[in-house]
């Protein structure tokens, strides 16, 4: 199994577990993500991928184990504090503010960054927020539709809007949960370009089912099955791994 370069990891999990009743959705997972990587997490349905990243971004509390970020133990850190550390999560199922305009959708994460400390909050001007919103929308190609309601957008554009929101939050670790699901081929390619652009300044953790996307984007791949990591390596190595094939095909 190929190892990640010996640089201090940005994100680390130690023996991370999540149990629901008698079922261990995530079982003793040691994950290490280096800064600047694009890491794909793949595995059959029910493997525990969303549960794992849920514990990383703070949605879920681990049953046992630790999450370390930049060397600090953040296991007990609340979800909103993790955002300020740079951990940004986009949901598997579209999670927008549906009845609000695209501008308002992006403004919410954008303004958070401008609200560090009491003095900053008082000095907050809508103009500063507007600049960030427009930049984020432009970077995903949605510049013209700021005033439209989020739920009036086509599905593909909604996914892009979510990406714009994530970007406005200034991610250091961007976690994308099945971003290409439901997208047309052209949209998928656009998304891949965007992810590559983002990866120049942030680390990306990507849950994906779409193998061509994984092959195109990921530097390293982590394979999960039944709550455990069963393989890790470059996309090419993983493609050829017999154990991985069995996990996917044996379903």
């Amino acid at each position: 199994m190929a190892t990640v370069a010996a640089v201090a990891p940005l994100l680390e999990t130690e023996a991370l577990c999540k149990r629901f009743g008698g079922l261990a959705a995530v079982n003793d997972v040691d994950l290490r993500v280096a800064p600047g990587e694009i890491r794909a997490v793949i595995g059959p349905n029910g493997a525990g991928k969303t549960t794992l990243v849920g514990m990383i971004c703070g949605r879920l509390v681990p049953s046992s184990g630790r999450v370390l970020y930049r060397g600090r133990d953040i296991t007990a850190m609340r979800p909103w504090e993790r955002l300020m550390q740079g951990i940004v999560y986009t949901f598997q199922v579209t999670s927008l503010f549906k009845s609000l305009s695209c501008y308002e959708n992006v403004a919410l994460p954008a303004q958070r960054r401008l609200m560090r400390g009491f003095a900053a909050r008082l000095a907050l001007r809508e103009k500063a927020v507007a600049e960030r919103v427009c930049a984020a929308l432009a970077s995903v190609g949605l510049a013209g539709i700021a005033e439209q309601r989020a739920d009036s957008l086509a599905y593909g554009h909604q996914r892009l809007l979510e990406l714009a929101m994530a970007l406005a939050a200034e991610p250091q670790l961007l976690i994308l949960d099945e971003p290409t699901q439901g997208l047309a081929q052209a949209e998928i390619e656009q998304l891949c370009d965007l992810v590559r652009a983002i990866a120049r300044s942030a680390t990306v953790l990507l849950i994906e089912h779409n193998m061509p996307v994984v092959l195109a984007l990921a530097g390293h791949v982590t394979v999960m099955d039944s709550g455990r990591i069963i393989a890790e390596g470059t996309p090419g190595e993983i493609e050829r791994d017999a154990g991985v094939q069995k996990a996917y095909l044996g379903r």
Partner: protein, 320 residues
């Protein structure tokens, strides 16, 4: 929101206040007092709207905040000889403290649970006001007019029984609550509250401690309700248990829904309209609360956005 929109919004809302100010010179006496009453009650509705319309939390217990303001102002005047300003402050403080204490306990729940918890707390408050009736004089209540010293403005005494004083004090209260609501709505905090209403988990993952924001909304909401309660006691001179009853928790829900949940102008419109509907109905029958029932059902079935909500959806999307 860009500058043009802000100017439009400000012009409209200040215009409404100006209209209310001018109306006092045109209104006949009966309606004069009514409008004063409506303005105070609309402030109550504004407080309620802050929680329901802008944070998405439905409460059936706001009467306890209104009554906290009422007793918080009325009792010191009646027993301790407080002046109007001190009483108002005491009333508002009581309401906000109660809201904070309530929020710290109740905000762990949401949805229907929160609604029932608020109902239960308010009911306990109401029963307590009856239980301690040596102090509060329960249902019967007590009158302040003998005990309340008139305001002194540059040497001229302004008694609250004078229509002009009553009207303008009520207008001042309403304007303060109105502009506070508008300001909050247009502020970054307002944006967060609306986001919490729409999708709380998403908001938390974007860096906001939703509990703290909900608590803030609840304390402000309780504060506005208490300000209305305190003003009602001072201006209309009566303090009694009925204002802590369940019906008085249902009223702001009704007024807000009718006027348009989540709009700034809605509470005023709803309160005014409902006040007159009930007024007219009570002239026809003693079963005038039937109007309340019919309006509530009609709103839910056909008109959930209320008046200003429909206006906003159909014609004026920039309305906050």
């Amino acid at each position: 929101m860009n500058d043009l929109a802000t100017h439009r919004v400000l012009a409209l809302h200040l215009g409404v206040l100006a209209l209310l100010f001018l109306a006092q010179f045109a209104l006949p006496e009966y309606h004069h007092t009514n409008v004063a009453r409506i303005m105070v009650l609309a402030a109550y509705a504004l407080g309620y709207n802050l929680l329901l319309g802008y944070t998405g939390l439905m409460s059936l217990g706001h009467a306890m905040f209104f009554a906290a303001g009422m007793y918080g102002a009325g009792l010191p005047v009646y027993y301790l000889g407080f002046g109007a300003a001190g009483a108002l402050g005491a009333g508002i403080a009581t309401g906000m403290l109660l809201a904070a204490a309530f929020g710290l306990m109740a905000l762990r729940t949401s949805g229907v649970s929160f609604l029932i918890v608020s109902l239960m707390f308010a009911q306990a408050f109401y029963l307590a006001s009856l239980y301690f009736n040596e102090i509060t004089l329960g249902d019967q209540g007590f009158i302040l007019s003998g005990k309340l010293a008139p305001l002194q403005l540059g040497g001229t005494p302004l008694g609250f029984h004078e229509p002009a004083v009553k009207y303008n004090a009520a207008l001042l209260l309403f304007a303060a609550c109105f502009l506070l609501s508008l300001g909050l709505r247009l502020s970054p905090i307002g944006r967060v509250l609306i986001a919490i209403r729409e999708n709380e988990e998403r908001t938390r993952l974007f860096g906001y401690d939703s509990f703290r924001y909900k608590l803030l909304a609840l304390v402000l909401s309780g504060g506005l309700a208490a300000a209305a309660g305190a003003s009602y006691a001072l201006l209309f001179s009566y303090v009694g248990s009925t204002f802590a009853s369940i019906l008085f928790s249902i009223y702001p829900l009704l007024w807000t829904l009718l006027g348009g949940v989540g709009t700034i102008l809605g509470p005023l419109v709803g309160t005014g309209l409902m006040f007159y509907l009930v007024d007219i109905a009570s002239g026809i029958t003693s079963a005038y609360l039937l109007v309340v029932g019919v309006v509530l059902v009609a709103l839910i079935l056909w008109f959930p956005q209320g008046i200003m909500g429909t206006v906003r959806a159909k014609w004026l999307p920039w309305l906050p």
